[in-house]
C-alpha cells in the first residue's frame, strides 16, 4: 500500500503537472515582447543617462506587476537594472518611467495621463487598440490567438523615441 502511494505521488508529479501546465499565458508573452521592443527602440541619450534603473511601470494592476517582477528579476535592459513599479495616474514619478504599460484603465484618468505624457520620452504600451489612436505608442491585440501590435509612428516621433524599421515592419503602423 505504501509503495502504491509513493508511485501514485510520483506519477501525479511528473505527468499531471504536464496537464496542469498551461500554454503560455497571454500576459507572460506580452511581458517578454515588451523586453524585446527595447532592442528596437532608443530613448534620447540624456533621458537614459539620468536614470540609475530601467523603469517599467505597470498602470493599475498589482497582479500584473508581480508577474513582471518575477520575469524581470535581476535582469538588465540598456545596461540598467530593471525596476518594476505599480503606479497610478496621479503618481508624480510617472514621467521617470522608460516604459508605461496600461492593462486596465479608467477612461477619464487615462486620457489625462496620455495628455500629461505627450511628447515625453515614455514608451506607452497598451492592451487597447483604441488608445493607440489617442496617443499611446504601441497597442497589443490578438489575431488568431497570436499577439500582434500596432504602432503610432507619429506619437513616437513626437516623444523623440526612435524606432527601428524592423519593428515597424513587424507591427501594424498607423499615423495620426
Amino acid at each position: 500500500m505504501r509503495t502504491i502511494k509513493i508511485v501514485l505521488i510520483l506519477i501525479l508529479i511528473f505527468f499531471t503537472s504536464n496537464l496542469f501546465y498551461a500554454q503560455y499565458d497571454e500576459y507572460e508573452v506580452k511581458a517578454a515582447m515588451i523586453g524585446k521592443f527595447t532592442l528596437f527602440v532608443d530613448w534620447p541619450e540624456q533621458f537614459l543617462e539620468k536614470s540609475k534603473e530601467f523603469n517599467i511601470c505597470i498602470y493599475g494592476d498589482k497582479k500584473l506587476t508581480k508577474m513582471f517582477h518575477r520575469i524581470y528579476k535581476a535582469k538588465k535592459i540598456k545596461n540598467l537594472p530593471v525596476k518594476i513599479t505599480n503606479i497610478s495616474s496621479s503618481d508624480q514619478n510617472i514621467e521617470k518611467c522608460q516604459i508605461l504599460y496600461i492593462k486596465k484603465h479608467n477612461k477619464k484618468k487615462i486620457d489625462k495621463t496620455l495628455k500629461r505624457l505627450k511628447s515625453k520620452p515614455v514608451l506607452i504600451i497598451s492592451d487597447y487598440k483604441s488608445l493607440v489612436s489617442k496617443g499611446a505608442h504601441i497597442g497589443f491585440y490578438l489575431f488568431e490567438n497570436k499577439i500582434r501590435f500596432q504602432i503610432n509612428y507619429k506619437s513616437l516621433k513626437d516623444s523623440k523615441i526612435s524606432v527601428s524599421y524592423l519593428l515597424l515592419r513587424a507591427g501594424e503602423v498607423i499615423n495620426q
Binding site: 508529479i13 500554454q23 503560455y24 517578454a32 500596432q150 524599421y165 501594424e172
Partner: protein, 709 residues
C-alpha cells in the same frame, strides 16, 4: 490523519512542480526572438486555439505601411515584387496577370499557388484557378500579406505547388476613403469602414475600378498580316478600348467573440484576346463571384481546442466574343456552386509539442458550362457540359511542431487526399446534324499521400537556419478533364512537385537583414497541353498528357539595410536553372523560365513625405515548344510558338504626402514604368497568334487622394 497528510503532501509537491515549470517557462520566453513570440499561440479566458501554420521555406511579409510607402496600386504590383515571382500577361481570360514562380510557369490559368483572403480559399472550381481578376481585392483594403513560398499542400491541398498567399483585410481598425485618377482612363474609388470593440469588430471594404487597357498597334504583336486580315483587322488596327477593365468589389468581415463571418462579392468585366485577336469593340470576359464564410472556435480543454469552418462559393463566367467578324454571336457560360466544411483540432500536451489535425470536404454541387460559336464548325456550336454527380474531394491532414530545445525545432506533417469519381456528360452540337452525347467518368483510384518536413535551428536572435522538404500535388481541373473527354484523350493524373530548400537568415543588428536560399524543385507528371492540327477535320485539337517533367536548381540572395532611420534599401537577386526532362524534349529548354530576376526597393521618408523607387529586372524568356505550329510559309513544323521576349527592367516611382493641407488627408503620386521601357511578355498557347509577344503598360501616371477617419 495520515490520509490527510498524504493528500496535503501530494498537493504541495504538485504545486511546487507547477510553480517551478511556470518560472522556467517564463524565462524561456525572454530568450525567444520577437518573431518567435509573435508566433506563440496564447490562451486567454475566452479564446481558443486553431490550426498552426507550417514553418515555410521562406516567408515574405508585407504590411499596410509598406504597401503605402512603396506605392503599390494593385495586388499584381505586390506579387511582382516578391522574390522569385514574375508576371506574364497574355491577355487571355483567366490567364492574364499570370505568374511564374522560381522558373516555373503554367500557361492558361494561374493555379500554382493558393490564395486566401481572411482565411477563405479563393479557388475557382471549374479551372482550379486563382485568377486575380476574380479575387479582385483593392490594394487599399490590404492590412497584411504573408507570402509563404514552398510546397504546402499538407495544409492547403491541391494547387499549393509553390506556396500560399494569405491576404488579411480585416485586421486594422482604419476607416478611410480615397479616389484615384490616371491616364489610360484609370480611375478608382475606395471606401473602408472599420470598428472595433472588445467583443465585436467589423470591417467593410468596397471599391470601384476602371481603366482602358493598353493602346498598341496590332503590328506590335504579330507580323502575320494574313491572320489579321482573316480576323477582320489590319496591321494598323489598335487595341484601344479592347482591353478595358471594370471591377467592383465588396467585402464585409465581422467577428463576435469566437464567431467569424465573411461575405465577399466581386464583379469583373475585362477585355481579352481568346485565341485570336478581337474584332472591335473587343471580346469581353465577365466574372461574378460570391463567397460566404463562417468560422467558430471552441476550447474543449485547456490544451485542446476545435475550430469549424464553412464556406459557400458561387462563381459565374460569361464571355462575349467578337472574333472574325462583327456580331459574331459567340458566347460561353460557366457557373459553379460549391461548399466546403473544415474541422480542425489543436492539441498541445506540453510545452514542446504542438499538434493540429483536420478534416476537409469540398463539394461542388452544381457545375454547368455551355458554349456556342456559330463562326466555327458545327461541332463547336450549342454545346453543354453537364455534371450529374456532386464532385467531392476529402482530405485529412495532421501536423506536429516539436521543440527539441530553445534553438532547435522540427515541423512534420502529412495529408491524405481523395478526389471521388464523377461523371461528365457533353451534349455536343445540340439540334444540329452532328449532334452527339459523350459520357465519361473521372476517377483517381489511390488516396494521395503528401508529406512535409522542416528543421529549424536558431542559435540566437540574430540568425537561423532552416532545412525544408515538402511535396505538393495539383489535380487536373474539371475543365481539363472535360477537354480530355471531348478530344478523346487519356485520363489525366495529378502533377507533383518535390522541393528541398536550405534557408539562412541573418540579422546582426536592427539595421541589417539578410537571407539566402538554395533550393531544388523536381516536377513530375506535369500536364502538358499541345495544340495539334487535325488535317482531316481542319481544326486544332488540344491534346493533354502527364508527360511534363522538370528540375530546377536555384539560389536567392536578399539584403535589407537601414543606413539611417529614414532610408531603407532592399535588394534581392534570384538565379535559377530549369531543365526539361520530358522524354524527347531534353534538348529543348523550357519556356517562360527567366534565369535571372532582380528586385530593388529604395524608400526615404522625412516628416510627412515619403519617396520610393521600386525596380525589377526579368531575364529573357523563350516561348513554348510545340509539335505542330504553322510557320510564315503556312507549313506545319515543330518549333517555338513565338519569339523569345527580351530581358526588361521596370522602375516605378512613388511620392506620398501625409497631412496634405489637412490632417489625415494624403496625396499620392505614382508613376508606373518611369523610363517607359518596353515590357514584352512571351506569347503563350492561349494567344499564340501574338508571336512577337504581348505588351505591358508603358509609362502610367496615377494621382490619388484620400482621407482617414
Amino acid at each position: 490523519m495520515k490520509r490527510n497528510l498524504f493528500i496535503i503532501i501530494l498537493y504541495l509537491l504538485i504545486g511546487i512542480k507547477i510553480q517551478a515549470y511556470d518560472y522556467q517557462d517564463q524565462q524561456k520566453l525572454l530568450k525567444m526572438s520577437l518573431q518567435d513570440l509573435m508566433n506563440i499561440k496564447v490562451t486567454t479566458a475566452s479564446k481558443v486555439e486553431e490550426k498552426i501554420r507550417e514553418i515555410p521555406a521562406s516567408i515574405v511579409l508585407i504590411n499596410r505601411e509598406e504597401i503605402k510607402k512603396q506605392g503599390y496600386k494593385s495586388l499584381s504590383d505586390i506579387l511582382q515584387n516578391i522574390p522569385g515571382f514574375y508576371m506574364i500577361n497574355d491577355y487571355y481570360w483567366l490567364g492574364s496577370e499570370n505568374f511564374g514562380i522560381r522558373g516555373f510557369f503554367s500557361p492558361g490559368v494561374f493555379n500554382d499557388i493558393v490564395i486566401l483572403v481572411n482565411g477563405v480559399n479563393q479557388v475557382g472550381d471549374s479551372y482550379s484557378d486563382y485568377s486575380l481578376a476574380k479575387i479582385n481585392i483593392p490594394v487599399e483594403a490590404i492590412d497584411r500579406i504573408e507570402v509563404v513560398r514552398g510546397p504546402i499542400s499538407v495544409l492547403y491541398g491541391s494547387g499549393a505547388f509553390f506556396g500560399a498567399v494569405n491576404i488579411i483585410t480585416n485586421n486594422t481598425p482604419i476607416s478611410m476613403a480615397s479616389i484615384s485618377f490616371g491616364n489610360d482612363k484609370y480611375k478608382k474609388l475606395f471606401l473602408r469602414v472599420s470598428k472595433v470593440s472588445d467583443d465585436f469588430k467589423f470591417t467593410i471594404n468596397t471599391s470601384l475600378y476602371g481603366d482602358n487597357g493598353i493602346d498598341k498597334s496590332f503590328n506590335c504583336f504579330t507580323d502575320n498580316y494574313q491572320m489579321l486580315k482573316w480576323a477582320g483587322l489590319s496591321m494598323e488596327s489598335r487595341t484601344k478600348g479592347m482591353l478595358k477593365n471594370d471591377r467592383k468589389y465588396f467585402n464585409f468581415s465581422g467577428e463576435y467573440k469566437n464567431l467569424h463571418f465573411d461575405f465577399t462579392y466581386s464583379d469583373t468585366r475585362k477585355g481579352v484576346f481568346d485565341g485570336l485577336p478581337s474584332y472591335p469593340p473587343g471580346t469581353f470576359f465577365n466574372n461574378r463571384s460570391t463567397t460566404i464564410f463562417l468560422k467558430y472556435r471552441k476550447e474543449i480543454l485547456k490544451n485542446l481546442s476545435i475550430t469549424g469552418k464553412f464556406t459557400y462559393l458561387y462563381n459565374s463566367f460569361f464571355w462575349e466574343y467578337e472574333i472574325l467578324q462583327k456580331d459574331s454571336y459567340a458566347t460561353n457560360y460557366n457557373n459553379s456552386l460549391s461548399d466546403e466544411i473544415e474541422l480542425n483540432i489543436t492539441y498541445k500536451p506540453n510545452d514542446k509539442l504542438n499538434m493540429v489535425s483536420g478534416f476537409i470536404r469540398h463539394n461542388i454541387f452544381y457545375l454547368y458550362k455551355s458554349y456556342d460559336y456559330p463562326i466555327y464548325p458545327l461541332e463547336y456550336t450549342n454545346t453543354e457540359d453537364v455534371f450529374p454527380d456532386d464532385i467531392i474531394s476529402d482530405a485529412f491532414f495532421s501536423q506536429a511542431n516539436y521543440n527539441f530545445s530553445d534553438k532547435l525545432k522540427i515541423v512534420t506533417g502529412f495529408r491524405l487526399e481523395k478526389l471521388h469519381k464523377y461523371k461528365l456528360i457533353i451534349h455536343r452540337a445540340k439540334e444540329t446534324p452532328v449532334e452527339k452525347d459523350i459520357t465519361g467518368e473521372y476517377s483517381q483510384e489511390n488516396i494521395k499521400f503528401i508529406p512535409r518536413f522542416a528543421l529549424i535551428y536558431s542559435p540566437s536572435d540574430f540568425h537561423s537556419l532552416k532545412f525544408l522538404y515538402g511535396k505538393a500535388i495539383k489535380n487536373p481541373s474539371i475543365m481539363q478533364n472535360i477537354s480530355q473527354l471531348f478530344n478523346q484523350g487519356t485520363t489525366l493524373l495529378p502533377a507533383y512537385i518535390e522541393t528541398f530548400e536550405l534557408n539562412y537568415i541573418l540579422s546582426p543588428s536592427p539595421s541589417v537583414f539578410a537571407n539566402i536560399s538554395l533550393y531544388k524543385n523536381k516536377l513530375d507528371d506535369l500536364i502538358v497541353a499541345r495544340n495539334i492540327y487535325n488535317p482531316k477535320t481542319r481544326t486544332w485539337e488540344i491534346h493533354s498528357t502527364n508527360s511534363g517533367k522538370m528540375e530546377t536548381k536555384g539560389i536567392e540572395v536578399g539584403l535589407t539595410i537601414l543606413p539611417i532611420q529614414e532610408l531603407v534599401l532592399s535588394t534581392n537577386l534570384s538565379y535559377q536553372k530549369t531543365k526539361n526532362l520530358e522524354k524527347g524534349f531534353k534538348d529543348i529548354s523550357p519556356g517562360y523560365s527567366p534565369e535571372l530576376l532582380g528586385y530593388l526597393k529604395i524608400h526615404y521618408s522625412f516628416k510627412d513625405y515619403s519617396i520610393a523607387l521600386v525596380g525589377r529586372y526579368v531575364g529573357e524568356m523563350k516561348t513554348l515548344w510545340d509539335e505542330t505550329i504553322i510557320n510564315k510559309e503556312q507549313h506545319l513544323v515543330r518549333g517555338r510558338i513565338g519569339q523569345p521576349s527580351k530581358a526588361y527592367y521596370e522602375i516605378d516611382f512613388n511620392l506620398r504626402v501625409e497631412n496634405f493641407f489637412l490632417k489625415r488627408v494624403y496625396l499620392d503620386f505614382h508613376i508606373y514604368n518611369l523610363l517607359n521601357n518596353a515590357i514584352v511578355y512571351p506569347a503563350t498557347s492561349g494567344n499564340s497568334w501574338a508571336e512577337k509577344g504581348t505588351y505591358g503598360y508603358g509609362r502610367l501616371f496615377i494621382l490619388s487622394m484620400g482621407k482617414y477617419f
